[in-house]
């Protein structure tokens, strides 16, 4: 089972793959640039002066112990933190050059460009079809043909089409855990975002479902920029091109994934990826 491979093995395997990947995908442009971002919940500062560039059509993994701020940073990228009272964000985050925190920015537009998949799969209590086309309906599209096409395309994109094509009218809640998470991915890609944020998408799934999601992430990389938060270091090693390690709200190390897992520069990183704490 791949999920139990040792870090060294995976590191080596990934390294070879990454080399080929870098030539095909990974244009080298940055999709998101984060500059000097600080965030606090009330008086409690959760992010300290984070700066990083996230590459286009790459998978970037955020790792670190619980409470290190990786999810908080992820939720800054599509302004989901706006939903929480008493949050202050300073610094600059630009998505393909557009400052998403500028007062002139349309938040809805940002969220349409930066989709999100959550830790807990959260399909709506609606049919599979309605789940997928939700974002389009919200955007005011009601042309049945357009919706049908988008539904099939998204479900194919999320590798779910063959499993559900005969029961699109059934409730999305009748699916298995892994299928539900792929349904959520289909829902996210239905609005054709540029970037997909994934907040521990596999933490509630069994190894086989996890494997399917990871394969999916691989194929999605060709079209989308993906940022994934994970507690599973092997997963970070398997799916990501670059990895960022966070500790106590600070970005400790950010590098190519193979380098990170084989030759960490920082002592903290080394301790964490070798399982000495966290």
């Amino acid at each position: 089972m791949t999920a139990v491979a040792s870090p060294q093995d995976t590191g080596i395997r990934i390294r070879t793959e990454v080399k080929t990947q870098e030539t095909s995908a990974g244009t080298g442009h940055s999709a998101i640039s984060i500059e000097n971002v600080n965030l606090s919940y009330g008086d409690n500062q959760a992010l300290h002066d984070i700066s990083m560039e996230i590459g286009e059509r790459q998978v970037t993994a955020f790792i670190g112990p619980s409470g290190c701020g990786k999810s908080t940073l992820l939720r800054c990228l599509n302004r989901m933190n706006d939903l929480i009272d008493d949050v202050t964000v300073t610094g600059r985050i630009t998505v393909r050059g557009q400052d998403i925190y500028s007062p002139a920015t349309d938040v809805i537009e940002v969220r349409r460009r930066v989709g999100m998949v959550f830790q807990k799969s959260n399909p709506f209590p609606k049919s599979i079809y309605e789940n997928v086309v939700y974002g389009l309906r919200i955007a005011g599209i009601s042309d049945k043909k357009v919706l049908d096409e988008a539904c099939e395309r998204s479900l194919r994109g999320a590798a779910l089409w063959d499993e559900v094509k005969d029961r699109l009218d059934e409730s999305g809640l009748g699916l298995s855990g892994g299928q539900m998470q792929r349904l959520c991915i289909a829902r996210a890609i239905a609005v054709e975002p540029e970037i997909i944020l994934m907040d521990e998408p596999c933490s509630a799934l069994d190894p086989i479902a996890t494997l399917k999601i990871e394969e999916l992430i691989y194929s999605l990389k060709e079209r989308y920029t993906i940022v994934i938060v994970t507690h599973n270091l092997q997963q970070a090693a398997r799916v990501s091109d670059r990895t960022a390690f966070f500790w106590l709200g600070r970005l400790v190390e950010y590098d190519q994934t193979p380098d990170m897992f084989t030759r960490p520069k920082d002592k903290l990183t080394e301790d964490y990826i070798t399982g000495r704490f966290g």
Binding site: N78, M80, L83, D85, I108, E109, R111, R112, G115, M116, F118, K120, S121, N122, P123, F124, P125, Y134, G135, R137, I138, A139, S171, L173, G177, M180, C184, R187, A188, A190, V191, A204
Partner: protein, 544 residues
């Protein structure tokens, strides 16, 4: 000291809590049993007994109660018994119930020729038909009367329906139109007074319309007279137990049956017929006879109107409190105030409804839209609209509290999923939060209906009357008349039970009406529960 095992296990607590629940259930079951036994027995046609007393007098009636005679201090205290007879024949005797001491009774028999007659006025008549006449011509005598009478009773029912059709619906319509014209005339007079311009043409049109209606009225009146002339020619003479005779027009006979000749099936038929009449007919004789249909209709209509107003209003208020308002001390205070509002005595709401809705809002509407009818109020008096609004106000806190809880129970992850796909907060609420909260909101509606349907006090001063001649919904434009007064089962119980001139006759009606009030509340609640369960199945949130 070591306690016994059963106590250490905590068994006493189980018995304690169990008996608390048991007591509650017993009380409710007792209530229902008392209401059912007292109410359902009322319609059953029991045997008619003829008691001959030692002084030679004869009494025919239904034995409805038997009790020990209290005589404190003497030997026979609670040893002797007496029975209560329902005698009917109020017009002959001046009373229709009588207590008879059992020791006074010389003999007791159930005469086969005793009939129970329900008629238009004076309550039931109990006696033996001796002759049937058409004008002066004798159609039948003695035992042959019953056979000859049956088709005439059926014809009487048919005739009554025809008469009611003319009196209530057709002449009622004419009256309605004349009333409209009268108001139109007052409007013209009002305008003339205001601007001094004479409106002869309009006056003439109104006069012509009134004349046309009056012409129609005369036609209907003649039709009615003809109908009455053919319908009310046959008379039956009954002889009561004491030998007194009473002549009764067959048109006035609603139901007649030989009480002591009926088998079980026959009694069941009478029973079912009476229940149906009770449900579907208008009340007669100051509500002690006939049915309660207008009260059932008024109750259901009022509850529906109340729900239509309370639910949208309450849900909107809950949405603001839960979704938009910044949670803080102010919102907490508002929430406490809403909770307390649910505990305000209903009569206080009634007084508010009278002062605000009826006098202020209703009076304002009258001054603005119906000044010509003043000082006769149109909306400035109690009516179903104001009563429903008052009850909506009374139940809206319940809806707010339940809706708030339902909204709070919608998982955060579902809102986030919607927001993350690019939905606005409003779209999220509309498409995700509200559907998921709908079952909980319906629970609020159920609670509100349960409270609203059972209220009487605020209605008494905002529009309920003991007898409403017209339903708030009918065939005349605009079909729904929110200004009309209405009847209500709760008030009907109060009126029949405590305001009736004939307490003994009215008492069973209290129980039967109670049964119907309970049934209607159960039916309304069941409907809401079925809808809620259906929604709950549809919007069941994921298991983990």
């Amino acid at each position: 000291m070591k306690l016994p095992l059963s106590i250490r296990r905590g068994d006493p607590m189980v018995w304690f809590t169990g008996s608390a629940l048991g007591t509650c259930l017993l009380l409710i079951a007792g209530l229902i049993v008392i209401v059912l036994t007292n109410g359902l027995g009322f319609f059953w046609p029991s045997a008619l007994v003829e008691l001959t007393l030692k002084d030679g007098s004869k009494w025919l009636g239904e034995e409805i109660r038997r009790q020990a005679i209290p005589n404190p201090g003497s030997d026979d205290h609670l040893r002797e018994h007496r029975v209560q007879l329902k005698l009917g024949n109020r017009d002959l005797l001046g009373y229709d119930f009588k207590w008879i001491d059992e020791k006074e009774i010389a003999s007791r028999r159930e005469p086969a020729d005793a009939f129970y007659v329900e008629r238009r006025e004076y309550g039931p008549l109990l006696g033996t038909p001796v002759a049937l006449k058409d004008g002066e011509r004798v159609l039948a005598e003695g035992d042959a009367v019953w056979a000859a009478l049956q088709p005439l009773v059926a014809k009487a029912e048919h005739d009554r329906a025809a008469i009611e059709q003319i009196e209530k619906h057709e002449i009622g319509e004419i009256n309605y139109r004349i009333e409209q014209q009268r108001l139109a005339l007052k409007r013209i007079e009002y305008r003339e007074k205001q601007d001094g311009v004479k409106r002869e043409a309009e006056r003439a049109a109104v006069a012509a319309a009134v004349a046309a209606q009056e012409e129609r009225f005369r036609g209907k009146q003649q039709e009615l007279d003809r109908l009455l002339a053919t319908a009310a020619t046959t008379y039956v003479t009954f002889r009561a137990a004491d030998g007194a005779e009473k002549e009764l027009s067959t048109l006035d006979i609603y139901r007649i049956y030989p009480a002591n000749q009926l088998g079980f099936g026959g009694r069941l038929a009478v029973y079912a017929g009476r229940i149906w009449e009770f449900m579907s007919a208008d009340p007669r004789e100051s509500n002690t006879e006939g049915g309660i249909f207008p009260a059932i209709f008024g109750t259901v209509m009022m509850v529906i109107l109340m729900s239509l107003m309370a639910v949208p209003f309450g849900v909107l208020a809950a949405l603001y409190l839960r979704e938009y308002a910044k949670q803080g001390p102010l919102v907490r205070i508002v929430r406490i105030a809403v909770n307390n509002l649910a505990g305000v005595p209903s009569i206080v709401f009634g007084v508010f409804g009278l002062g605000f809705f009826v006098y202020f809002v209703g009076g304002g509407i009258d001054r603005m839209f119906f000044p010509e009818a003043l000082p006769t109020p149109t909306y400035g008096t109690g009516g179903i609209l104001w009563a429903s609004l008052t009850l909506a106000l009374l139940t809206v806190p319940v809806v707010i509290v339940a809706s708030e809880e339902a909204l709070a129970a919608v998982p955060r992850s579902m809102r986030e999923a919607s927001i993350a796909t690019g939905a606005t907060k409003f779209q999220t609420i509309l498409h995700v939060v509200l559907p998921a909260a709908a079952p909980g909101i319906l629970t609020g509606l159920i609670l509100a209906m349960a409270r609203g349907a059972g209220e009487v006090a605020p209605l008494m001063i905002t529009g309920v009357v003991k007898l409403a001649p017209e339903l708030p919904l009918d065939g005349f434009f605009p079909f729904f008349h929110p200004d009309r007064k209405f009847m209500h089962l709760g008030f009907h119980i109060y009126d029949v039970g405590f305001q009736s001139p004939n307490v003994e006759a009215a008492m069973p009606m209290v129980y039967t009406t109670t049964i119907f009030l309970l049934l209607i509340i159960v039916a309304l609640n069941l409907t809401a529960i079925v809808v809620r369960n259906r929604l709950r199945r549809k919007y069941q949130t994921s298991a983990f």
